[in-house]
Symmetry: C2
Subunit: 183 residues, 2 copies
DNA sequence: CGTCGATTTCAGAAACTTTTGAAATCTGTG
DNA sequence: CACAGATTTCAAAAGTTTCTGAAATCGACG
């Protein structure tokens, strides 16, 4: 399977962006290829399309599976594994955010709580700073959890509210946490 | 300046997380040290506190400046540069999101628009997939721009609305974009 | 239970990033 | 305009990650 020029350019871009996104070039390229392919692809096809080694494909697919970014399909009378990305882009976004949260935020939240537990009170500024950071991260991940639970239709409505959002917030009222004191 | 045990542990954690956050160990450590220091620090102090080379400090600070994550201060009758992180955590979050958007999202948005412009119509599925992705990214970055413009007090109110958010969205009404069709 | 295609693991080679110390540059002051 | 302190640049060493081909493992089928 030779990628079309459009696919090719998209694939190369994902490969280049990979390092900024915390994945390597091949993983980015494999994902890009699957994303643009209507039919599921097997490892051999991916290897040839991207002109990489078979073992590299294997590792890349394993990595994508660990991110929950690909789905496994089976084709009757073919024992090879076939891979796709979900059709629904919102599902992809939810997965991406959930996985990044798990890798980039949760370990720090755990560490901050741990540091607060064992803090001795002898380092006022640092302790205050750590608590404030922990509160802020909790507020943001809490909001994310609420968004996560919304059906897509409502989420899209919220995302497209634009400037109307401001008035809406006021009407809702409610008590204001200490952290809002930032200017 | 020798860091306290609390600072030390926080600094080491930021160093380890650095690679997941797309910065290197030293950059993470320098940031952590500045974040927990009430007073601004100069390069020499940072070098000694983290036990790294002077040139490494210089490069780390340059990197942090390119991310707009540190502020430069000057102390009367001292010509060395002193560095701090902003007191206001919300400002830090805004900067972080803005910079990550600039590095991780904007180049892809540009590329997707470019691909749509030059697409020939000969690759229906891939072209539809690319347009859909571009629309979704635009919707999300548009929402981010709206959030960006909110004063902190309102932003915090929104973040802490919790389940009340759902009813609120319904009241607002408005037309629903095609992308909401994801289930 | 041996064969065969498919997949994974692994150790080393290649590529890339980080860190350093030394040298170069910059900047304010006498 | 020279000097002294401060900072940056640079080339090379150290460290890390990615990629490969060869060998090991898996698993369905006869």
């Amino acid at each position: 399977m030779r990628p079309t020029p459009l696919q090719q350019e998209f694939i190369l871009h994902f490969g280049e962006m990979g390092s900024r996104w915390g994945i390597n070039r091949t993983v980015g390229q494999i994902y890009a290829l699957l994303f643009l392919s209507e039919a599921p692809l097997n490892a051999e096809t991916i290897t040839k399309a991207l002109n990489i080694s078979r073992s590299n494909t294997s590792m890349g697919l394993k990595e994508l599976q660990s991110w929950n970014l690909v789905r496994l399909k089976h084709i009757p009378d073919d024992r090879r594994d076939y891979f796709t990305t979900p059709e629904d882009l919102w599902e992809i976004v939810r997965t991406l955010i959930a996985e990044r949260k798990k890798r980039e935020i949760d370990p720090t939240l755990t560490k901050l709580r741990e540091l607060e537990m064992t803090a001795s009170g002898g380092d006022t500024y640092a302790e205050a700073r750590i608590s404030e950071l922990r509160e802020l991260i909790e507020m943001m991940t809490g909001f994310y959890d609420d968004m996560e639970r919304l059906e897509t239709v409502r989420l899209v409505k919220l995302l497209t509210l634009g400037s109307r959002i401001s008035g809406l917030i006021e009407k809702a009222g409610g008590a204001l946490p200490a952290l809002a004191k930032g200017h």
